[in-house]
Symmetry: C2
């Protein structure tokens, strides 16, 4: 077993709520705060906390605008975030393959 | 995207050190504390903490014996642990497939 695979799993992405947010954004590239919240059935506070962590890591960018005179917060995956997510998924895939081989 | 997959990820197994321990035990069924520690390059304290969490969840059992007059602690995957790990790997596999589909 390759112990390094586990150690290399990105802590920022590994938390399961952030894994869900990153997966959503990897699929859609950009999405409004409200749509993410509804898709993942998260509370405002919980989503804000995770979004901030992802932003601090440079994995997503956040822009604010208006739509129908209402504020709209949009989250986008950055190039760095996309790369980190790909690397993370590759590691997960390796871990799954290893588990399948030994069972 | 299926948000439920992420929510269903078992917290006990999802922590990456415990993921590594469970993967090792899923492959070997039983292993001594010392061998796990060396395979995963973990400290005694860190491994003890994670082993206890897995034991409390009923995923591993621990037995103590002697080998060459020295105490030997052996960790074994339980039937419950094996089932929980299979479920966890199935969920991970689904998440990886989903990510591959959308990228």
């Amino acid at each position: 077993m390759n112990a390094k695979s586990f150690q290399q799993l990105d802590k920022v992405i590994h938390e399961k709520n952030r894994m869900a947010i990153m997966s959503l954004l990897a699929a859609t590239r950009k999405m409004s705060f409200t749509d993410i919240r509804e898709s993942l059935n998260m509370t405002d506070g919980n989503l804000i906390t995770h979004i901030r962590t992802l932003q601090k890591a440079g994995y997503i960018s956040i822009s604010k605008s208006f739509k129908d005179k209402r504020p709209l917060t949009t989250c986008r995956l950055t190039v760095e975030g996309s790369g980190a997510f790909s690397k993370y998924v590759n590691l997960l895939e390796g871990i799954v393959k290893q588990a399948r081989k030994t069972n």
